[in-house]
Amino acid sequence: MDIIQMKNVSFSYQQDQPVLDGINLNIKKGEWVTILGHNGSGKSTLSKLLIGLLKPSQGEIIIDNITLSRETVHEARKHIGIVFQNPDNQFVGVTVRDDIAFGLENLQVPRNEMVERIDKYAHKVHMAEYLNKEPHNLSGGQKQRVAIAGILAMQTDIIIFDEATSMLDPKGRRMILDYMSQLNKEGVTIITITHDMKEAVLSDRIVVLKKGKIIKVDKAKSVLKDQETLEKSNLELLLPLKVLNYLEKENIDNEKVRSYLWELSLTR
């Protein structure tokens, strides 16, 4: 079943300057999809359309069988959550605790369950000590962790992560990625927007955007080695694949090394 359907969706912030142009994209329930693309290619705009924060100038978006409109957007938000690229855009509460609570209040989660969830997810992202602190007074990476906890706590069927780990240290990033894998195994549909190919490897499918158009949608494994497509959108190959291409170019034919490098590029 397709949990997300975008049918011929276009969008412009200013008249006649389309930022997204004729987007057709279906995502299956339980799928993990990565969206890649150069700065300004339209990734964040696409994610804001999916959560109904922006309205398509043309086309239709269906989330969990709900066709997005002004009337349905509230209902749809119970199914789809987003961690914004800039965590500051997400904070509304005076304290970290209020902030995580805010989303849950909107979902009318009962009081005692709310307390439980706040505690659980604050621990998950290692921010339990900071529950009484003001979100704006956190370090960049701590803000990202809190923003992630806030969305996880809502337990929606679909979660979009818009460069949500860009300010985390390597270990912290790995931890969140492991958790994304776990959620995905439990059936949550995940969309990650990233510039990190090591993150993209983990997903089922990759969508590459360039100047508001989809230039490629395919299985992660296929897009990963497609140097031509990647470079069109300011992306680069993983290191083992760069080496592989180099050896090929130099006519160094060593099957063992080649298959080893290919395997290596698929493991994190």
Binding site: N39, G40, P170, G172, R174, N234, V243
Partner: protein, 287 residues
């Protein structure tokens, strides 16, 4: 001259009435020319706090920071003995969140704000804006746009352009490449490296990207829980057994070299520092 930290402590007072320790007993010397430093460490370890002391945005709670011969401590700042304007020009700092740095109606006004503030005339400042916008990989049409209506990566580029236009002696960048697309990141790192090489300027970059550390840095500073725990070269850092405790990771290049050796028994003559060196050595070994 440069920047000298002398036993600096710093705490933030939280709204929850707790004090958050951000710097503990930091002693550190940074030369005013010729350094290329990466500053790394776990989330919340004090990196941003440290660099905000380098251009007197923050004042030490105890201890002092000497910035180009001007002594910044509680007492001097309280008695208004320090002129901040020259310091802000000498030490340019690009913020972690570009949103904190962008406030004008147009990108051009934002970029020329710094230079004008430091006495550059408007026409010259506009010329500089036209140059630096290209240096950061955007075209001139962006100059007339509102900085608030840009994508995350575009904002980042504009905030970097604004500091480049000030032509500071020391250039400090707080996570400049997070949010940049990979080719944009490589191009900008090359820009910083060029400024360092051609003008012999000191550059300090905060990053979580171990590849940047390994391939560019001459010197690495590691923060951990408000302490400076490592000050040295990148080669030794990545053989240090503490790197896991410090939440760091091994650069892709080193990782690949280790793997090739462990799993396939491939030994390279020397330790390559960049992709090109890796390619060339592999070619020799495998042909």
């Amino acid at each position: 001259m440069g920047i000298k930290f002398n036993k600096v402590d710093f705490k933030y007072q939280g709204n929850d009435n707790k004090a958050y320790l951000a710097l503990s007993n930091i002693t550190l010397n940074i030369k005013d020319t010729g350094e290329f430093i990466t500053l790394i460490g776990e989330t919340g370890s004090g990196k941003t706090t440290l660099v905000q002391h380098m251009n007197a945005l923050l004042t030490p709670l105890s201890g002092s920071v000497d910035i180009f011969g001007v002594k910044i401590n509680r007492e001097n700042v309280k008695k208004k003995k320090v002129k901040l304007n020259p310091i802000r020009q000498q030490v340019g700092l690009v913020f972690q969140f570009p949103e904190y740095q962008l406030f004008e109606e147009t990108v051009q006004k934002d970029i020329i704000f710094g230079p004008k503030n430091f006495g550059v005339d408007e026409a010259t400042a506009i010329e500089r804006a036209k140059e630096v916008i290209k240096v950061v990989g955007l075209d001139e049409s962006y100059l007339q746009r509102s900085p608030f209506n840009l994508s995350g990566g575009e904002k980042k580029r504009v905030s970097i352009a604004g500091i480049l236009a000030m032509e500071p002696d020391i250039l400090i960048l707080d996570e400049p490449t997070s949010g940049l697309d990979p080719l944009g990141r490589n191009a900008l790192l090359d820009v910083f490296y060029d400024i360092h090489k051609k003008l012999n300027k000191t550059i300090i970059i905060i990053t979580h990207d171990m590849n940047t550390v390994y391939e560019y840095a001459k010197r690495v500073l590691v923060m951990r829980d408000s302490y400076l725990v490592y000050d040295g070269d990148p080669i030794h850092l990545f053989t240090n057994k503490n790197i896991d405790n410090w939440n760091l990771d091994v650069p892709d290049l080193l990782n690949l070299i280790h793997k090739l050796e462990e799993d396939l028994g491939i030994q390279l003559p020397t330790q390559p520092r960049n992709e090109q060196e890796l390619f060339e050595q592999l070619k020799v070994v495998l042909s």
